[in-house]
């Protein structure tokens, strides 16, 4: 199925005889979920873009690259810095806006600017009964009724198939600087990142690339803005971290390459094993890392996001909660491999009941990406 309009999509869902696998660009490879393929590529195109109002309305099947190009022509961008999964997962195809929104894909800047869902102003979708639904709109502030936009962000197509999403976009800053702190261990890295994020210098990224085959560990701290402001803040941060021997990188291309390395988890590309991501309190990062004893790690969000490379089939959740010890807070999600383990963390019973209740209401026949989330 490849509907060309919302009405067509609604009809196809109403008439569906069995499960549907909803797919944007197919770059996150939804595994072996059963069902007929439902592609959103026909729901494509930029519907409205007002740079002066920082708003963009776009069809869900639109390739992300097309959106980024249009924004870049006006000196703007999606501030949440969505990851490109292709390198990590070995997939091809073109990431779409709908896939990004449905998975709430957010990159390093999430820690400062917010997640994909924070920038979604409105959605249109078709639920599992074939009902066409709109929620939110295209204005910056909107508390009119319940926020189904947030509910759709990260619902992975299990509550409805997105047809259109409105975003708040932001100006691309004129200048960027990245402080590189070389050779820190995990504990010192997390501490440095917390200090940076707790400084008044509006840090827009804090990540740690542990030492790999290619040399020493690098802890990265990013500031963005007008040129003089960036110079001032990177200088102040350099003073703050003087004992750690910071090197300031101001070349925009090199900064871009460094942060793409974090965003797309490049150190894990082409290496065998399963990949998990763990969302936790930054101050728990060291304890989490110790418990999971991964082959390789990458820390983003100041330590609040841990990417872990582990041998195939490892149950990371079991490692996080060894018998007789309290579970460390946060969530562990399978991104690659996982040997049939549930992709998402199971929820406590009363929360799971609410999630199941919502699924039952929005997709009573259970045909949208069944089994993907629960």
């Amino acid at each position: 199925m490849r509907p060309a309009s919302m009405a067509e999509l609604a009809e196809e869902i109403r008439n569906a005889g069995g499960p549907l696998r909803v797919r944007g660009g197919g770059t996150r490879g939804l595994g072996g979920a059963p069902g007929e393929l439902l592609e959103t590529g026909g729901l494509s195109g930029i519907r409205l873009y007002e740079p002066g109002a920082l708003t963009l309305v776009v069809g869900a099947g639109t390739p992300l690259a097309e959106v980024e190009e249009a924004l870049s022509a006006e000196g703007q961008r999606l501030a949440f810095e969505p990851m490109d999964h292709r390198g990590l997962l070995g997939t091809s195809g073109a990431p779409t806006v709908g896939g990004m929104a449905a998975a709430n894909v957010s990159g390093p800047r999430r820690v400062q600017a917010g997640a994909c869902g924070d920038f979604m102003l409105g959605v249109r979708f078709v639920d599992g009964s074939g009902q066409e639904v709109s929620n939110g709109g295209r204005v910056m502030k909107n508390v009119t009724g319940y926020d189904l936009v947030k509910l759709m962000a990260g619902s992975h197509g299990t509550l409805g198939v997105l047809t259109e999403v409105s975003f708040k976009v932001l100006p691309t800053p004129a200048s960027v600087a990245t402080l590189v702190l070389p050779g820190l261990g995990l504990e010192a890295a997390v501490e440095a990142m917390s200090r940076a994020l707790g400084s008044p210098f509006d840090v827009s990224g804090a990540a740690h690339l542990p030492s790999g085959a290619d040399g020493t560990a690098q802890t990265l701290v990013r500031v963005e803005g007008f040129s003089e402001s960036v110079a001032y803040r990177s200088a102040r941060l350099s003073e703050m971290f003087a004992p750690l021997g910071p090197v300031v990188e101001r070349d925009p291309d090199l900064c871009d390459a460094l942060w793409r390395r974090v965003r797309d988890v490049e150190p894990f590309h082409g290496r065998p094993g399963d990949v998990w991501r763990i969302s936790c309190k930054p101050s728990d990062a060291l304890a989490v890392a110790t418990r999971i004893s991964a082959e390789d790690l990458l820390l983003d969000w100041g330590g609040g996001l841990i990417w872990a490379l582990v041998p195939e089939g490892t149950d990371l959740r079991a490692r996080l909660a060894p018998e007789g010890t309290p579970r460390l807070g946060g969530h562990a999600t399978v991104v690659r491999g996982g040997a049939g383990l549930p992709v998402f963390e199971s929820e406590p019973a009363p929360v799971a009941a609410l999630s199941a209740g919502l699924r039952k209401r929005f997709d009573p026949r259970g045909i949208l990406n069944p089994g993907l989330m629960a």
Binding site: E74, N104, R110, Q131, G145, Y146, K150, S355, M373
Partner: protein, 478 residues
């Protein structure tokens, strides 16, 4: 304003319901004397009043859970109440409802600077959250005008914003987790001190659900390090249109001020008379605030004034010190008080695409003439969040209805140009019956489906958000 008929059976059982609540709560936490429940008969939308059956003031999540269990078993509606500052009637009681006030739950439970969050009980006021962390130079970003009085519980229920959310976002962007009690007494934890989790974003849908999905008793909030400094500039223009264009140009230029506030002539005149802030005599006035170090502020203000000059401002006043900054903000911050002195007013908060500002302001002027009611505009221009204040005389027969009629027209206009009914105050009872202007039946149905899941008997905060006829069948079955 139509409200559902109170359930006679519940009114008859008042004594028993109060007695059962007294069994599970401390004695002084259940208020049923007629004179005392009157304190809860309305919120800041004072035009509508109705004393509740009784009011309860639990002091912990456990007490909230126990009390809700009783109410659930008795089939009694519950109206959660923060500090009662809702401008939309978000905590207006019905005669057969129990008011659940969170005022006694105001403790700070945890502050964590390395991870940048604070965990509080939700009866705590917005400003006192910042108060708890400011000695370490941190702050909680959402800053509704009522921040001295309003409670975090209400902020979460309404997804409150404020002047500075252009840069920092609204409540939902600063809320990490909650402890919430469902109507049947079940306690759930959503989110936590970490960022995004894997499952459905239930926290995201709870925020802004106007107390209809559960009673939020504890919240984990993101705190931020204070910027080194902040400074406003005041720019006066000869017309609303030009001021609107200037706003758009500032945004397009890549400057992201923390606030861009807009006042039109009626508002400027009233504020000037009230606060004597020394505002220039002009048609429209912008207050633009930027943050950072001295040098950064200078860089940003330089760019902003450069853009403003292209629009031929009547006056451009940069604050040189804290005193002058204070005077620039003085008039704006006293806007509501100033209006209150002149007359009674209705305050709307429809949001529009920024590009539609001049058109909408022009139409509001025309509508104001048609209705023969004065409208003053003061609003967050950077994000298109209008605040038309409709002035009227409540003591004069028919004036409230007339003002409400004008308000409805203005809000319809907001929707027509691509905006929404409410940007930060919430729907409550005030905009309930206009919901079908913005949403089609299927859109409302999808929202009501969420309520069905969290509160199947539709007991929490009755008669808010959804048009009564849209929710009728559900409330009857319940």
């Amino acid at each position: 304003m139509q409200m559902p008929k109170p359930d006679a059976g519940i009114l008859d059982r008042k004594a028993r319901i109060v007695a059962r609540l007294r069994e599970v709560l401390p004695k002084d936490a259940v208020i049923d004397a007629e004179a005392e429940v009157r304190a809860y008969e309305c919120d800041a939308l004072t035009a509508y009043r109705c004393p509740p059956l009784c009011a309860i003031l639990p002091a912990s999540t456990e007490e909230v859970s126990a009390a809700l269990k009783v109410c659930h078993e008795e089939g009694v509606p519950v109206v959660p109440r923060g500090a009662g500052t809702s401008l939309a009637g978000g905590s207006l009681p019905t005669a057969d409802s129990v008011i659940l006030g969170v005022a006694r739950m105001n403790a700070v439970l945890e502050t964590n600077y390395p991870d940048r969050y604070i965990r509080v009980q939700t009866g705590r006021t917005n400003l006192s959250v910042t108060g708890a962390v400011e000695e370490n130079d941190f702050f909680y970003a959402p800053d509704p005008s009522s921040q001295l009085a309003c409670a975090i519980a209400g902020n979460i229920a309404m997804n409150s914003g404020g002047a500075h959310c252009l840069k920092y976002g609204v409540t939902t962007n600063n809320l990490l987790g909650v402890t919430m009690v469902l109507m049947d007494g079940t306690v759930v934890e959503l989110g936590g001190a970490h960022l995004d989790s894997g499952g459905l974003d239930l926290l995201g849908v709870v925020c802004g659900s106007e107390g209809q999905l559960g009673v939020v008793t504890e919240a984990t909030l993101r705190i931020l390090r204070k910027p080194e400094g902040a400074r406003p500039v005041l720019i006066a223009f000869g017309s609303n249109e030009v001021a609107g264009e200037c706003v758009s140009d500032i945004i397009k230029a890549g400057v992201l001020p923390v606030a861009i506030e807009f006042m039109d002539r009626p508002c400027i005149v009233a504020c000037e008379a009230f606060a004597k802030a020394g505002y220039p005599d002009c048609e429209a006035l912008l207050i633009v605030e930027v943050e950072g170090s001295e040098a950064e502020i200078a860089e940003q203000l330089g760019l902003i004034t450069q853009i403003a000059r292209r629009h031929d401002p009547v006056e451009l006043r940069e604050a040189k010190d804290a005193d002058e900054a204070g005077r620039i903000w003085l008039g704006r911050k006293s806007a509501f008080g100033a209006m209150g002195q002149i007359n009674d007013y209705l305050c709307l908060d429809g949001t529009i695409p920024v590009s539609e500002l001049p058109k909408v302001l022009r139409r509001i002027r025309e509508l104001s003439k048609d209705f023969e009611l004065e409208v003053a505009n003061v609003f967050h221009a950077g994000d298109g969040n209008m605040h038309p204040l409709i002035l009227f005389n409540a003591n004069q027969e028919g004036q409230l209805a007339l003002a409400e009629g004008l308000g409805a027209e203005i809000l319809k206009l907001c929707v027509e140009v691509g905006g929404c009914l409410t940007g930060e105050h919430g729907v409550g009872i005030e905009k309930r019956d206009l919901m079908s202007v913005q949403y089609r039946p299927a859109d409302l149905e999808a929202q009501m489906a969420v309520k069905d899941v969290f509160d199947p008997a539709w007991l929490l905060n009755p008669a808010k958000v959804f048009p009564l006829e849209a929710s009728a069948s559900r409330r009857e079955v319940a």
